[in-house]
């Protein structure tokens, strides 16, 4: 069976090369049959990789410990879900997942575009297959998941495996890697389209529409992946944070930032024909950063809390990154005439300029994160001293950048194209401005002195009211015309222009998340050694330890505490933090107990027993407003989904109708 898996991967590798060569040769020589056969090869690659993945999953589920990968990442006593999740629990398996997801995307791209973009499709396939072949090299030759354990020439097996890393034995973590990969891998598609259009000098912006939707979908996956990771860190790691500027976290954030920049600046290209070069640069950078992120995660060049081993794949990645960078750069430079801009900037206070600054800030932020992440490598190369930077560095730069972006979120959508008149500025920003400054004044009077938190709350209210005003004005126009009530009119308004109002909804989600981030300025924490009956206090909470128990099951041993939580004498809840020690992997893990409320979370972590085993080391935290991060995230998902549904007006019109008709309608109705 392991032979079948290995052969499937080898065959996929060969067919991948065939599809790559066939597509290019077919397009070059204009031989439709070659292109068709290359396309079939892509389907075959998908079939073979699906087979290989299924075999690996089967081996994991049936605990076939002859396979080194299964022995290292699974054991008999794990629940089936985590046996399945062990597919991406280690290097070999997660690279196979990468390959498989890419082949899935390739097949979807081929299928959905089978009647479209005839001229560029062969090059799109070729670009995708280049990446596919690159990853298949790993799957087949460098990190083959189907290696068996052997003594001499004899295949052997171990009685039980090491088990999945216990930190990964949590639902959000079990699905976090594949979702994040769906984002990472997905950015290969916009890149492929951009390269295809550059190579063929495809006229018109038809392909732009296709990749905007793709980018939005993969951007959504990437957002989900990042937020799941944050949610997992918060609920499992026991330190109470959700973001630590760890290299691997940064790696997932970098392409997200450039993709966000692209999603904004692509509007400039659609509406004004500007920033074409810039957009191609952003797409290429996003894809490059995705590969780079995989490289950071997998090669261990920067030490990280995500304990991935040093491995020999670094050289390969460096080579491929250089190839992608050089190819994209060459294509962009040699096609500058094709990417010529139609119009020019007219005023600093205009929609165009706000997009420029949005992009500038996002890019600066991205660059600062990259710089900080690679600082050990850079400083060693330049000064010979390996120096790393820590959380304070990132916060110093990212907090001002984040707040400036939040400000633009409120301002930019209300600025007119070309130039804004003072009268319109006053009409649009009077009320929100008063709301924002009023918030700051009230909070300051209430005793809040944290500068960034004050600014953040003020901006949040400012942005929220600009968006609310936008919805209100549009909805009122509709309700006056049709006699609907306001709520129905809001729905109608959103359906008429899903892109615009979906985008606003995403912005509301971002605002809510910033409320949650600002709350972290007021965190409280306490570490105590407690026995049964002991009490301690944090914030407004009185905590009393009722029980301390221990026990074991086949998978792990555990210590369990029951803590009574009350405030001012009235009982609120019993919280039950637990500490586990997994037998096969010999690792501990915390099962924290969190009392989630909208205004603050109470968070208890059973950190361990004291050395004499008499008392429990208990860590208690209060995290104000942290729930709003997760709520904002759900709003963000909702907004993105709204953006992805077609607008009603547009859907009724024939294809090729004015794309932003609904936008114009709403403006006219004011």
């Amino acid at each position: 069976m392991e032979n079948l898996g290995a052969i499937a991967i080898l065959l996929a590798f060969c067919l991948g090369i065939y599809a790559l060569v066939g597509s290019v040769a077919g397009a070059w020589r204009q031989k439709p049959f070659l292109i068709a056969s290359a396309n079939r090869a892509i389907y075959a690659v998908w079939f073979l990789l699906t087979t290989a993945s299924a075999l690996l999953v089967y081996a994991l589920l049936t605990s076939d410990f002859r396979l080194a990968y299964v022995a290292a990442h699974s054991n008999r006593d794990m629940p089936p879900l985590y046996k399945f999740a062990a597919w991406w629990g280690g290097q070999e398996g997660s690279l196979l997942l990468w390959s498989w997801l890419l082949s899935c995307y390739s097949v979807v791209v081929l299928f959905t575009n089978r009647h479209k973009h005839r001229r560029i499709m062969p090059y799109v396939s070729a670009t995708l297959m280049t990446t596919q072949v690159f990853f298949l090299i790993f799957n087949a030759f460098v990190a083959n998941p189907f290696r068996v354990l052997a003594v001499g020439r004899e295949i052997t097996s171990v009685p039980d495996g090491n088990g999945l890393n216990p930190l990964l034995q949590y639902w959000a973590m079990a699905i976090h890697p594949p979702i994040l990969y769906l984002g990472y891998v997905g950015f290969a598609v916009p890149f492929a389209f951009a390269m295809g259009s550059l190579i063929t000098r495809e006229p018109g912006d038809g392909w732009l529409h296709t990749i905007r939707r793709w980018t939005l979908v993969t951007w959504l996956f990437q957002s989900c992946g990042i937020l799941l990771g944050a949610g997992w860190a918060y609920a499992v790691l026991g330190w109470g944070g959700y973001w630590g500027w760890d290299p691997v976290e940064n790696a997932s954030l970098l392409p997200w930032i450039t993709a966000t920049a692209f999603l904004h600046s692509v509007m400039m290209q659609e509406k004004k024909g500007m920033m074409k070069v810039w957009n191609v640069v952003l797409i290429s950078a996003t894809f490059w950063l995705c590969i780079f992120g995989t490289f950071l995660t997998r090669s261990g060049i920067v030490s990280s809390v995500h304990a991935f081993a040093q491995s020999p794949i670094g050289k390969w990645f460096t080579g491929y990154l250089a190839l992608v960078g050089a190819a994209a750069l060459y294509l962009i430079l040699s096609r500058l005439d094709y990417l010529k801009t139609r119009s020019r900037l007219e005023s600093v206070i205009s929609r165009e300029s706000s997009f420029l600054f949005n992009n500038l800030l996002l890019l600066v932020s991205c660059f600062a994160i990259l710089w900080g992440t690679l600082f050990p490598v850079i400083s060693e190369a330049v000064t010979g001293q390996k120096i790393s930077v820590d959380v304070p560095f990132f916060n110093r730069v990212q907090i001002p950048v984040g707040l400036s972006l939040l400000f633009l979120t409120g301002v930019a959508p209300l600025l007119a194209w070309r130039r804004s008149s003072p009268a319109s500025l006053k009409r649009n920003f009077m009320l929100p401005g008063i709301a924002g400054i009023g918030t700051i004044a009230v909070l300051f009077a209430a005793g809040m002195r944290h500068f960034y938190a004050l600014v953040c709350f003020g901006l949040c209210l400012f942005v929220a009211s600009t968006i609310a005003l936008e919805f209100y004005r549009g909805a009122r126009a509709i309700s006056v015309k049709t006699g609907q009530n306001l709520a129905a009119a809001v729905v109608e308004l959103t359906r008429r222009n899903t892109r615009r109002y979906g985008g606003y909804t995403v912005h509301i989600g971002i605002v809510l998340m910033f409320v949650g981030f600002a709350g972290s300025a007021f965190n409280k924490n306490l570490t105590v050694d407690v026995g049964i009956g002991d009490t301690f206090h944090l914030g407004r909470y009185d905590l009393k330890v009722l029980e301390l128990r221990e026990g074991e099951n086949p998978n792990y041993t555990w210590n369990h505490a029951v803590v009574d939580v009350s405030t001012g004498g009235s009982h609120l809840a019993n919280m039950e933090p637990e500490r586990r020690f997994y037998k096969s992997s010999q690792q501990g893990s915390a099962e924290v107990s969190i009392r989630r409320r909208l205004h603050e979370d109470l968070y208890l972590n059973f950190a361990g027993m004291t050395d004499d085993n008499a008392k429990a080391v208990m860590q208690a935290y209060v995290f104000p407003l942290v729930s709003w991060i997760w709520i904002g995230f759900w709003v963000l998902i909702l907004g993105t989904l709204i953006c992805l549904t077609p607008s009603r007006v547009r859907a009724r019109k024939a294809r090729g109708a004015e794309p932003e008709l609904a936008d114009e309608l709403v403006v006219a109705e004011r």
Partner: protein, 141 residues
């Protein structure tokens, strides 16, 4: 003034501010990676700088006194006494034999005061004696 000049000025102001902030951030949180041997050689220079020292946690050296954790780091047969007094709980992977990175400063008494500990397990195959895995080596198909 020309629109493009206005733009250029704004861009320079934005980027300049951020570079200034970043430079300050590096000053504030720059941490030097050192081996235990290098820390010893630095002598007096080691005090006051933020350092990151890596090594294996010596088996049986972990002692917990209330919130304070003491242990020894071992690297190339040199050891370093470390005291951890941070507020964050130690990672679950921190235990005897684990590879650990300690961030902190060297004390005048020769004890390293860590404010942050990162740890990861030594390779699981080596760390798991007794199951016969020691005799097993990986081979191709």
């Amino acid at each position: 003034m020309n629109t493009y000049w206005k733009f250029a000025t704004l861009v320079v102001v934005v980027v300049g501010t951020l570079v200034w902030l970043a430079a300050g951030g590096i000053q504030e949180s720059g941490t030097y990676y050192k081996t235990i041997g290098e820390v010893r050689q630095m002598g007096g220079d080691a005090f006051g700088k933020r350092l990151r020292v890596g090594g294996d946690v010596e088996a049986g050296s972990i002692v917990r006194v209330g919130p304070v954790v003491k242990f020894k780091l071992l690297q190339d047969k040199q050891t370093l006494n470390v005291v951890y007094e941070g507020t964050e709980p130690l990672p679950d992977t921190f235990r005897d034999g684990a590879q650990a990175l300690a961030d902190g400063k060297m004390g005048q008494d020769g004890v390293f005061r860590a404010s942050k500990i990162q740890a990861k397990c030594a390779s699981k195959y080596e760390a798991k004696p007794g199951t016969g895995a020691g005799a097993v080596k990986r081979a191709g198909i």
